[in-house]
Symmetry: C2
Subunit: 246 residues, 2 copies
């Protein structure tokens, strides 16, 4: 990819994981509402995804987008997810379509399907051999943050079908640095290591696809999200497994 | 049902169809942003679903809700569907949950799945014996209005799972009075007569269900939406068929 890749929400944890591994691999255009903490590995635009002109300025000439910017709190109130996550994501997709960008990788979330984890199913589904979700199931958010992420997936579907964008929605699990969550079965089942996260988004920028929903977790022994679709369509080949850190 | 039934968007076409047939069958609480055209068959509140206090006032003491209020234009711009259809629907669901309302029937739309009608599939899918959608397929909106309706369905899923509301989403077809659309194959395939519309929403108020997505069309010879789920779960028994008006 020769054109710049726009990374929104570059200062967040997913952005940190991506840039730590792939900082030199792309010509990055970084967008964040906060100024950079250190020396950013690319052009840096301070701006908010709710500011359409800032998004359009950052999108100018981009060849692909990794859209991470959002209020990331599972407990975020409706007004915030409506503005930042739903309206902000629409602004990014619309600008990407107008710019003729090829690919958009959208950071969706395990919270888009959190309500599948019913009292009847858990903790069984957190353990090896339990039921798995594969991305074809309809959204069942357990909080309004999850509603906003499921809506982002639908916006992606629309901008693919009607505007020709290639879109992959990554339902990101539990991203932690160095080691998986401790004493937290659910978090271990949906662990995503930093290096697997960076590799997955690298594949999102390299592979060819139309519209996809995949799960973003490491190759954990215990998992209730299938990573088969990510392997098949994107060539995702995770290296980490929460069981190896037990 | 002894408690009042709140009907939002009472002055629209779906409201007209419902009230023409069921005006005397329920104690209606009618909400619309416009004053009533004639003598309304129930208490009438002039207010907008984007006005939380108006919605809460109208919800007070209600036993069920039929939520129709929306910008109904398939070409409606994003700002309008974001405010009226997405935020407004969230306001209605949240107020219904807080009020402890039992059932919410949400007027979704064929536009939530409009992009299934690809060039490859049409016009074949408008004809008898073609492929049908049954409500289990993920949303594929063909416009931003459809995005907003698919988002309303997800909000309904969330308010069912996390707040215990019984929710049915009705993907309404092409509602016309007296006779089906003429010279419009797609419209004939998804025709919903006024009396079948009223009967369907009556069943939504009477039947027991958890969370459902059903299609709202008459028993047309040509159809690409299945009405089996509506028959099975709601006891929907439509009387009209666009082919009998040919």
């Amino acid at each position: 990819m020769d054109d710049p890749v726009l990374l929104t929400g570059a200062g967040g944890r997913v952005g940190e994981a991506i840039l730590a591994a792939l900082g030199d691999d792309y010509e990055w255009r970084l967008l964040d509402r906060n100024p950079p903490a250190g020396d950013p590995p690319g052009e840096y635009v301070v701006g908010d995804v709710t500011d359409e002109s800032a998004v359009r300025e950052a999108m100018d000439g981009a060849g692909a987008v990794v859209h991470l910017a959002a209020d990331p709190r599972p407990s975020a109130p409706w007004d915030s997810v409506l503005r930042n996550n739903i309206d902000g994501t629409r602004t990014v997709f619309a600008a990407a379509a107008d710019e003729g960008v090829g690919k958009v990788a959208f950071a969706s979330s395990n919270h888009a399907v959190g309500a599948y984890e019913t009292d009847e199913r858990t903790p069984g589904m957190y353990r090896p051999g339990g039921e798995t979700l594969d991305g074809s199931e309809p959204p069942r958010p357990g909080n309004l943050y999850g509603v906003s992420k499921a809506t982002g997936e639908i916006l992606g579907r629309y901008y693919h079908d009607e505007h020709g964008l290639s879109v992959v929605c990554v339902r990101i699990g539990n991203l932690t640095k160095n080691h998986p969550p401790e004493d937290y079965e659910r978090g271990q089942a949906m662990w995503l290591s930093y290096r697997d996260c960076a590799h997955l988004f690298d594949r999102c920028l390299q592979a060819d696809y139309d519209y996809e929903i995949v799960y973003g977790i490491s190759d954990n022994d215990r998992k209730f999200y299938s990573i088969e679709r990510a392997r098949e369509v994107l060539g995702y080949d995770p290296q980490d497994n929460s069981a190896e850190h037990a």
